[in-house]
Symmetry: D2
Subunit: 337 residues, 4 copies
């Protein structure tokens, strides 16, 4: 931490800042400049609140030097996290493809989707049984019967299941059926939910909040990890900007940045990010080219009939086409699909 003093700060004000730092069990290091003085802070025993320093007389600003996260950071764990699940790896060389309908609507719909994505090469089946919707009047999901249909699809196809869980109480139900627990973008800072999935044995797919900074995103993962669950998969799904031709703005530079500061795997969801079927394939390609560890896309056997987000769902045919392109791309990029 560095405390920057006002050009007119008095010696008494400087001394008070140093005293506060000492009382917190840390060491102050005044650096007198030609115009103003700054005070560096060192020590690992104590802790001090930057905002407390900020309001002391004579202080212009306080600059935090270290990152707020620990367990998610690459300084904590230099090697990339690879999550093993039923003999499949998420993270590392191999790309993961999660596909399926936005919501489970019926046994027929899900089975058809499951067989189609399995055949084209996906390894994880997505599908919501509990759907957080902006309007209370929209379809909210089939609930537990949706989870049962997902479990049947796993049995029939061997695909693993990822599905969303929406509150702490709900986790117990969802983890009884799912292989991967999804925390949605709107719940990225639902800390009660994060703590609860942090106690689960299931890996957690954590979607980035629509206006989360990277620090906030990583701190949400830190909540899960700090409860003991180290198997977190990050998912970029677009952030809110002034752009109005996509539902959200996909922020692909988050991928190399996450790779630099964290060891966690990161995948991308181009369906929700763009909200437009025609953009899913080019943006899925772009995500992989930027270094993502996989994608999550919506596929519906009959998108025109979908009860939720049909407009952004691929048909089974275009999903098969996407997989062909992904294979060519992953080869060119030295990765495996």
């Amino acid at each position: 931490m560095l405390v920057v003093m006002n050009v007119h700060a008095t010696q008494e004000q400087l001394e008070r800042v140093c005293e506060e730092i000492r009382q917190a069990g840390l060491s102050p290091h005044p650096i007198p400049g030609s115009q103003r003085t700054a005070v560096g802070i060192t020590g690992d025993k104590g802790a001090i609140d930057p905002e407390r320093l900020q309001q002391l007389p004579g202080v212009v600003k306080v600059i935090r030097v270290t990152d707020p996260y620990k367990l998610v950071g690459r300084e904590f764990k230099p090697d990339e996290t690879v999550i093993e699940l039923n003999g499949m790896n998420i993270g590392g060389e191999r790309l993961v493809v999660m596909a399926g309908p936005c919501a489970v609507e019926s046994r027929e719909q899900l089975m058809e989707a499951a067989h189609a994505v399995k055949e084209a090469g996906a390894t994880v089946l997505r599908g919501g049984a509990f759907k957080p919707r902006t309007s209370p009047y929209n379809f909210q999901g089939l609930g537990e019967s949706g989870l049962k249909i997902l479990a049947q699809a796993r049995e029939e196809t061997g695909l693993m299941i990822v599905t969303e869980t929406i509150d702490p109480e709900n986790v117990t139900l969802v983890e009884a059926y799912a292989d991967i627990l999804q925390v949605g973008a709107r719940n990225m800072q639902n800390f009660s939910l994060l703590k609860r999935v942090g106690k689960s044995k299931r890996p957690v797919l954590l979607k980035r909040g629509i206006s989360a900074t990277l620090d906030e995103f990583l701190m949400a993962a830190e909540y899960v990890m700090s409860e003991g669950n180290y198997n977190v998969i990050l998912c970029e799904r677009g952030v809110r900007t002034f752009n109005n031709y996509t539902r959200f703005t996909m922020d692909l530079s988050t991928i190399p940045e996450v790779k630099r500061v964290s060891h966690l795997p990161i995948i991308v969801d181009p369906s929700h990010a763009t909200g437009k079927r025609d953009m899913v394939i080019p943006m899925a390609r772009a995500a992989i080219a930027a270094g993502a560890d996989g994608i999550m896309v919506e596929v519906h056997p009959n998108p025109d009939e979908a009860l939720s987000d049909g407009y952004q769902s691929l048909t089974p045919e275009s999903f098969a086409q996407l997989m062909v392109e992904m294979r060519a791309l992953s080869a060119a990029l030295g990765r495996q699909l």
Copy 2:
């Protein structure tokens, strides 16, 4: 709803769009133009998903004409909602001032703050017992013992209590102590929580999410109201933008807009919006001048010692100064404090 066809759309494509509309129990009204055709949709019995239309061949875009909300809208209830609580009104002519520390830290701290804000003229005491924090390593609140201290402060001062509730299970505990249930910005789309407070008898203070559109904000209130709780107080507390000299960007134009489209009262929280003590007074003045029904500000007996958000808390002295300015302003604006 209006469906805009491509300039090259065929008669068959147009007919298919009309057929879909009819099948949904609604009436299509084709409007042939010089270049392209649009189709208006009318009827109140059926319902149709705009995204379903959007993907039909020949359709360029679908434009939603009506607002998504019902109960929160002024077309549903033309008169302003005034919430009566212990003989006090929220909404209407009189401005409400909610003040107190960010977090309850101790009996002494809260009592000192409570007496100070009471004396200066506040009628509601704020103070968090459960604190949603970005980092799992930061102070998370005193929990139930914090709620008990709040209840004691009510007994001693006659102030009403507003405090945050963080998940559905937690509501039962909080509503046993608080007069007003606060749903924080991070939980604005925690729909499980919204439904639960919608079943409570306590009024709900709903904070705007940091990147919520006005529609999303109002739809969150709609969730609460659709469960039967019509006493919702909206609270603008800043949105996330590129600005970096305030923590968030206070969006005061939301006030006249909410007044135009909704009947619900709206207050403003300049402490969290700006994150800077020096800005609280000018921005509180601005909020009232823009037409807000009240303010919520942080006051701490000793801000330098605060465990949470101390840097943005007013001292009791500056809060008293704020109240003096608010009185002058409200008189000039024809309102009462």
Copy 3:
């Protein structure tokens, strides 16, 4: 400036950083911490590019401590700038009101508007003769004949004239007629234009770019001042965010922040910020309550006939109403109108 080293940085890497700093004529101050070392930089003779340091091996980040601006800063000039113009002050105790149509359309239209705003109490007449428009097919202004009409209005009413200038060549023409040169939001970083108005004897009204940070806004003013023209009036007119119910989002917290870091006067334009007639009055009130030194609003004798931005123009009657409210407010705030 502070250089933060990697936790694994070697002694050689640290030494190289110090050497670079010394070669730039400055002094390095290593601050060894428990985990990592930081290097403070002091000295006033030399200068070093932070980006050059940032790429040295072992460096994590470089933190700039001082502000980039000089002439606009309060550390350079502690007293508020008050611009005198024909015996009127801009800045200081008195509020300035600039009003008039978006564009000069005809002699009749402008004269009618000029008399109306004069009578209600405005002291500066606005009106565009050169209009930057998003579309090349929209009305682009009357050009020099518009300037002549403005000069006639000054003669008839005694109002001062503010009008926009759009490129360096155009300045010579505009400064022959106008009292204040306006630089529009789209040209805030048109540096050729800024340098040219910096050589003018006329005060400059500088509008904030729609996505300008405060530093960029102040650096644009610095461009003008660095050419010798110290009479700069800043104007907040909304920034671009995800909000869609106003054209831009008025960022009123910029007012107390500008007052803190700069000595320049700042006014607000609620007409362009909101784009909605109904919001102009509440947001003008809010701006003044936040501490602005004045407002600029659009008034058109017949807004329904306006060739440009009619929807956001006040009628003469509502402008008169605004002035009544402004007088009450300014009295309550201890300012003069």
Copy 4:
């Protein structure tokens, strides 16, 4: 255009709206609904200002149905624009790579960069002779002597030259030396400059403004084209958002969207978008995978010595590596480099 009436609108108000539409030479089509009436507008002879309608009594909102641009649109010209320049194509199957230093600093520096990028496979050399800088105290470019150095580099290497022009007067100078005129992001709505380059015979590289909507971006191109210059290359270079780990947020979904609505070629500048050397290669790959027609990257023979934006420049070695990866990628994507 569609006019939506209030649920309480009277028959007189409806009639007035229809009358306004008729007076503008267009035809009104009232669509009575169960709750409210909407009025469709058709006709191609007249024109009506949506804002004029918006303020009529009883009108809730006016919805624009058609796009504002003409010449840039795919409905105007269905085939992709391919710009031929010295036997090279920009747009179409082949990808273009523009590379070189941010600013021309000296003959030696530029020649070294030119030979390096030529050898690795670039076909266009970039380098600024006139540099728009946020601070008036920063290096502003070598001016005409910089242009002369660029011309020498063309002679020596056969590379084409793209360089920025900063105001209308300056265009005459720059077009005497450059093959492609660059309009920078800060000048995207400098309409005087757009009109001037619209009269030039040189192709124009138009960078997206940092907060330009897609419509504004395309309307800027429309300005150039409406003056007769149809050779416009669009360039996405990041937009301003709340993200703070990249200088701007690269908005790659703009690529498929531009391809859908316009016939103009679009390239991407990952150097300015990210501001970080380590991100240039992954984001260049992502841009190509998303369908961009080329890239523009900064390469400096000695980035540590660069006078401008050194931190984001690639070394010649990493640029050569980028070209290797681009070749593999373009083969996988069915394009040529």
